[in-house]
């Protein structure tokens, strides 16, 4: 049993988590990142936990809460309870979002908004002057954009018409034929995430095996080296999980075999823990050492050592 790629993508309009302008960490220049909602993997450390589910969610940020209690009065199902830490009883909430309308501070908010290709393009358009001066562009991220190949294809085609440099960040679990046919032609680069080399470990921490992921990576790398779209492998460094010497050496070997010359190492940060709580999720890494703090400099250096032969992006 492997990782069955999702059906050639969902049709229809995805939910957009956020369109984040002025990003300097998701490719060259000043970039606008479009975050999609929904992912076929379920990595334990997911740094955008609010992007895991395809459907909309209710988020509660206790730091923003003014404590006015209007939401409690408003909720038709009595799902809001300020005596519990999470503030929202998810078992009762039916996602009507009436509380979001009422909340004066924005502590309660709706995660995920349906946006047409035209709406996304209109937001991006304002940033075009910044792309021009900085050599930036748009990066599709998530969640997993390839869950919505048809939409991605149309959005990217529109962006290319606008002259925008495009990157797609992916977990690698997609139907390669459909991807190569509909999405890849509109891309300038693919940022391809590799987490764990061992399929069993991958299944344990990410919810699926990695056979398709690795096969897709090999295929895209090959196409890239033959003059196709550039592929940049990226490895999230998760202490004790991906950031083990064993895993990193295996991945380095894989990259060498695939002919990669550059790699990006993404340092662990603990900010996702707070985000998980906001959407009422639990922390799958609770109690694990080092999961609640930023990586030590020395640990990053240790991880880098495994990739000495590569240019670090």
């Amino acid at each position: 049993m492997g990782d069955a790629p999702p059906a050639a993508g969902r049709t229809g309009t995805p939910l957009i988590l956020e369109i984040k302008g002025n990003s300097l960490d998701d490719g060259p220049g000043i970039r606008t990142v479009v975050f999609f909602k929904g992912c076929p993997l379920s990595c334990a450390w997911c740094h955008n936990p609010e992007s895991k589910k395809v459907g909309p969610e209710l988020s509660f940020d206790p730091r923003e809460c003014a404590g006015c209690g209007l939401c409690i009065e408003t909720c038709p199902r009595g799902a809001i309870d300020d005596s519990i830490e999470a503030h929202v009883d998810r078992s009762r909430c039916d996602l009507c979002f009436e509380c979001v309308e009422t909340c004066p501070s924005g502590a309660l908010s709706r995660v995920g908004r349906e946006m047409s290709v035209g709406e996304v393009a209109a937001v991006v358009e304002k940033d075009l002057p910044f792309f021009r001066t900085s050599g930036g562009g748009v990066t599709l991220s998530g969640g997993e954009p390839t869950l919505f190949m048809d939409y991605c294809s149309r959005l990217l085609a529109r962006l290319k018409e606008m002259g925008v440099h495009t990157i797609l960040e992916t977990c690698g679990l997609f139907d390669a034929d459909a991807f190569v046919r509909t999405v890849l032609p509109h891309l300038d680069a693919v940022y391809f995430d590799l987490k764990l080399y061992d399929p069993a470990e991958h299944r344990r921490w990410c919810g699926t095996g990695n056979e398709t992921v690795l096969a897709n990576f090999a295929e895209l790398m090959r196409a890239g080296l033959e003059g196709g779209v550039e592929v940049l492998p990226r490895i999230p460094l998760i202490p004790g999980i991906t950031a083990t010497d064993e895993n990193l050496e295996a991945l380095a070997e894989l990259l060498r075999g695939a002919g990669a010359e550059r790699v990006a190492l993404l340092e662990y940060n603990p900010l996702w823990l707070e985000k998980t709580a906001k959407v009422g999720g639990r922390n799958p890494l609770a109690g694990r050492d080092a999961s609640d703090r930023w990586m030590e400099r020395s640990d990053v250096e240790r991880c880098r050592a495994a990739f000495e032969a590569f240019e670090l992006a």
Partner: protein, 990 residues
């Protein structure tokens, strides 16, 4: 005793104790003596409702307490109520100041006498105040350390790291002739030991108040009369000033600083504080005994100097200064009373009329002798010239000769020092200096060392005449370039060329360091209004030539190198970037220098600034020759008296008055027009409220203009400036001093403060009260009046649910443009005393902090006492995305902002990006902002952690430069509120 309170008895007892000291203690009694006679004055003190009313009269060497305030009182201190009297009795001088600022106390009458009264009090409390000041300082240091105890060594290395990673540049600018690496990356300060020593002196020398200028001038006026001459005939003011100036220049000490390549000093001190008693000098009177002890920016003062000021200088000027002249002639008009309450506007004209740019190129080309010949030729040509014109031109002539006399004395001094100099290298330099000063500024300049020395001599001379507040240098890169080229052309070998470049850097470095030899006199209250400010000597680089070509040249890059190496606050470096003409390589270098120095230069979009001035139909070649003045404001170099910072206008005060039917809450004064009561539902729609706001704003503008014009008249009477007149195009044909409108172009520039705060507040009223009807106006007002204490939900709603200026919202930008257009039009409708129009700018020096402390909560949710945003910078909460800020500011209409703007951005380089990447990011922001039409931008490249560490450990960050709003300051010299404001500014990672 009817209506009098018990407190009145206490007040009386205190004054009686004071008068007894004066009458029976000989040494104290002596304090009442000035210039051989007794100083007479009467001071009143009362509460608003006269529950306390006392007077004290000093006459013929005797002090006498009066149980009332006589009609001929000189100055009265009015306290809000009895409680304030008790507070005052316990207050430190610093606390008294804050009570004054916060309208617990107000003053009516001659402020010089109030300052003298403060001096008397300080004499009686001398020992006690020293102890109090020591306690305040110790407590302050303790508090800082407690707040950030950890020593963050990593942060302290940050500045050195940036410097070490500097880039090389490519020779792409057509105007660069000799520099193969225009970024001059091969040089650093260790190549210039002389400059390194000067920088050390700069950071380790405490400024000292200098009595030379005011002393010599006062001597001359006492001997020759001020209003009338020795024969009793009224003086023609420019003639009087010229003769006094001549006396000053012929008698002041010619100094050559150790090791310097540039001769002459502004004062007799290493770093001197210049005193101008005809403007705001007497403000320091009360502090003569304590200024060296004060917490913020203390000055040394010798006992002898303090005595001279008290006994000989200040008594002469108690009534002969700008404020008091207006008070006496116009019977303390309302417009003056408003200024003296601090909360609605601050009139810089009380201190200076010097925000302008002199015509240095003409001086270097002709020499002062050539300028004198032109005066003589004009007098010969215009046979029918009026007496006024003849005398005005003669006065200019006298001043130029006085400058020559001073230069001659510098030359002699250099020669005599050379004769006794043991070191042969230095001897040669001194001999060359003697040669230079005997040739220029009298004759034309031929070489760069002559040009630099001539400009410095004129520069310090101008400061002997006009207050050192905003007088600006102009386009020094353009103006020095021909002399540099002449030097370079004479080089025969590559070694000589190299040495010549090195020498050019060193000369410009010496010139910068000379500009730091003086500081403006800031009374302690100024530390709270505009702390840490130097005299804001702006210098302008780059842009285009008068005929529209790329003006970036070797000297532009040499100035940038010096700016980078010295990393000091003066001169205030402004760079023009013309997107149609200037290179990206030049803009990248500007960004790199900004990164390395943390805060400078300030960046201007040439096209937008020139567009903002379109309405004046200036000849295009004159427009292209604009320079930044003081902070950021445009002046047409050498031909324009634009007093570009005549006032700081608090727009938020107008909003508060509109919320309160014309009453200003802090002053508790029903002073504005009655525009309607929010509580009574007088406003049916947003437009009605907007009208109320503009009605109040118009009222404040009309008053501020009226006062500024009266002060303009005072300047023309008390201190016309014939030397400056000789250095500006216009007076030669017009025959009028520049203070009387003799310059070719005349304007007055305002700085309107709080655009983002006003816009956001108006947006809240518009959206929540009228469009969405989420809250009633009276409920909103009640929340505002109570600082939102009882309504956290409403506070959350106003701060979170209304699109603010800087968020990318069309409507908010439209409101901001509407407010700016109103300010512009209302100012534009007035003419100044010199016959020119008013302009409107949107920058704030540091008054966004000071005015903020004097302002209650706002509909925008900004809480009482908090700073406004600097300049027109969006509120930190407006958007998480810097691009939204950039776009919104760029969409403001330059035509409404013809006195320029200050848009502050705090960016923080990411640890993982290379130096070059960081520079590229900065470049992209600025370039795009300019392409979108933005006028001006200034970046602070620091982290809040670094600023916090500096707050706790100031000794480690003496040279940490920050841009406030328009000017640079050393972070550690700022008052606490200003430091916190900088820390709380939105911070964007790059």
């Amino acid at each position: 005793m009817s209506g009098k309170s018990v407190t009145n008895l206490v007040g009386s007892a205190v004054l009686r104790a004071m008068s007894a000291s004066f009458n029976y203690r000989g040494s104290v009694r002596e304090q009442m003596r000035s210039n051989g006679s007794w100083t007479d004055m009467t001071v009143g003190i009362r509460t608003e409702n006269r529950s306390v009313e006392q007077g004290i009269r000093f006459r013929d060497g005797k002090a006498k307490v009066m149980g009332r305030i006589p009609a001929d009182v000189d100055v009265t201190m009015i306290l809000a109520d009895d409680a304030v009297v008790w507070d005052l009795l316990k207050a430190t001088p610093n606390e008294t100041l804050l009570m004054l600022l916060r309208s617990k106390i107000r003053l009516e009458g001659n402020l010089s006498y109030m300052n003298l009264m403060n001096y008397y009090i300080s004499v009686l409390l001398a020992g006690q105040n020293t102890k109090r000041n020591a306690r305040i300082k110790a407590a302050d240091a303790e508090r800082r350390r407690a707040e950030a105890p950890s020593v963050q060594k990593a942060l302290r290395g940050e500045m050195a790291r940036r410097l070490a990673e500097r880039m090389a540049g490519e020779k792409v600018d057509p105007g660069v002739g000799y520099l193969e690496d225009p970024y001059l990356s091969g040089y650093d300060i260790s190549d210039f030991p002389r400059l390194k020593r000067f920088v050390d002196v700069h950071f380790t020398t405490r400024p000292e108040i200098c009595g030379e200028r005011p002393g010599l001038l006062t001597d001359w006026f006492q001997a020759n009369g001020f209003e009338t001459d020795a024969d009793g005939n009224p003086w023609f003011p420019p003639t009087r000033q010229a003769l006094a100036f001549k006396y000053l220049m012929e008698n002041r000490e010619p100094f050559i600083r150790k090791d310097d390549l540039v001769a002459g000093t502004t004062t007799t001190k290493e770093i001197g504080v210049v005193v101008y008693p005809d403007t705001h000098g007497t403000m320091i009177w009360g502090e003569l005994g304590s200024v060296s002890d004060r917490l913020l920016n203390p000055y040394d003062i010798s006992e002898a100097t303090a005595k001279t000021f008290h006994h000989n200088i200040f008594p002469f000027w108690t009534r002969r200064n700008m404020r008091e002249w207006v008070r006496e002639k116009y019977d303390q008009p309302l417009c003056q009373k408003l200024d003296e309450r601090f909360a609605v506007y601050f009139m810089w004209k009380t201190a200076a009329l010097s925000h302008t740019i002199a015509d240095f190129p003409r001086m270097m080309r002709l020499g002062t002798n050539g300028m004198i010949e032109e005066i003589d030729a004009e007098l010969a040509r215009d046979e029918g010239a009026s007496v006024e014109k003849r005398e005005t031109l003669q006065a200019m002539r006298i001043c130029l000769e006085a400058v020559n006399a001073y230069a001659r004395r510098l030359s002699e001094k250099a020669a005599s020092e050379a004769a006794s100099e043991p070191d042969p290298g230095r001897r040669k330099e001194l001999e060359r200096m003697a040669e230079i000063c005997s040739k220029v500024p009298a004759g034309p300049c031929d070489t760069l060392d002559e040009a630099v020395n001539a400009c410095w001599i004129l520069w310090l001379s101008l400061h002997m005449e006009s207050t050192n507040a905003g007088l600006s240098l102009g386009r020094m890169d353009q103006w020095f370039q021909p002399y540099y080229e002449a030097d370079m052309a004479a080089c025969a070998t590559p070694e000589e060329t190299e040495e010549c470049i090195r020498r050019a850097i060193e000369l410009v470095g010496c010139f910068y360091m000379r500009c730091t030899d003086h500081l403006p006199l800031i009374p302690d209250i100024g530390n709270y209004l505009f702390g840490g400010s130097s005299s804001d000597q702006a210098i302008t680089l780059g842009g285009t030539t008068p005929d529209g070509r790329d003006a970036v040249c070797d000297m532009t890059y040499i100035f940038l190198k010096v700016t980078e190496m010295l990393n000091i606050r003066d001169p205030n470096v402004n760079a023009r970037f013309n997107p149609e003409v200037n290179s990206d390589a030049y803009l990248k270098r500007l960004c790199e220098v900004n990164l390395i120095t943390c805060a400078t230069p300030s960046l201007h979009n040439d096209l937008a600034v020139m567009e903002s001035l379109e309405e004046f139909d200036y000849p295009v070649e004159e427009l292209r020759d604009w320079s930044a003045t003081g902070c950021v404001e445009p002046t047409l170099s050498g031909r324009h008296m634009g007093h570009t910072n005549c006032m700081m206008m608090n727009m938020v005060a107008a909003l508060e008055m509109a919320m309160n039917d014309g009453r200003h809450p802090l002053m508790n004064w029903e002073v504005g027009p009655r525009t309607g009561r929010v509580e009574d539902g007088d406003f049916e729609n947003f437009e009605e409220f907007f009208d109320a706001f503009t009605t109040q704003f118009q009222f404040l503008i009309d008053n501020s203009v009226e006062y500024n014009n009266l002060l303009g008249e005072a300047h023309s009477v008390l201190r016309p400036t014939p030397l400056l007149s000789s250095m500006i195009e216009g007076p030669l044909p017009s025959g009028r001093d520049v203070t009387l409108g003799g310059a070719k172009h005349n304007t007055s520039g305002s700085a309107c403060i709080g655009l983002a705060d006003v816009t956001d507040s108006l947006m809240v009223v518009k959206k929540l009260v009228f469009d969405e009807k989420k809250v009633s106006f009276s409920d909103l007002k009640r929340a505002v009046d109570t600082n939102f204490a009882d309504d956290p939900a409403l506070h959350a709603r106003v701060t979170r649910k209304v699109p603010l200026f800087g968020s990318g919202d069309e409507e908010a930008v439209a409101v901001a443009n509407r407010v700016a257009a109103f300010a512009h039009d209302a100012f534009r409708a007035h003419d100044n005393f010199r016959g020119g129009p008013y302009t409107a700018g949107f920058w704030s020096m540091s008054n966004h902090v000071a005015f903020g402390t004097l302002t209650g909560a706002l509909p925008s949710g900004r809480l009482a006492g908090k700073p406004f945003t600097p300049g027109l910078t969006p509120e930190p909460n407006a958007s998480k995305n810097l691009l939204d800020n950039i776009r919104d500011v760029a969409r403001l209409d330059p035509h409404s902002m013809n006195n320029n703007i200050a848009f502050n951005v705090k960016v923080v380089p990411s640890g993982s990006d290379s130096h070059e990447q960081v520079v590229d990011h900065m470049f992209s922001y600025v370039k795009t902002y300019f392409e979108l039409g933005g006028m001006q931008m200034q970046m602070n490249v620091v982290t809040s952690d670094m600023l916090r560490d500096a707050m706790a450990h100031p000794e480690e960050y003496r040279n940490l430069l920050v841009r406030i709003s328009g000017y640079n300051a050393y972070f550690v010299t700022l008052n606490r509120d200003m430091q916190l404001e900088l820390i709380e500014r939105a911070e964007y990672g790059i």
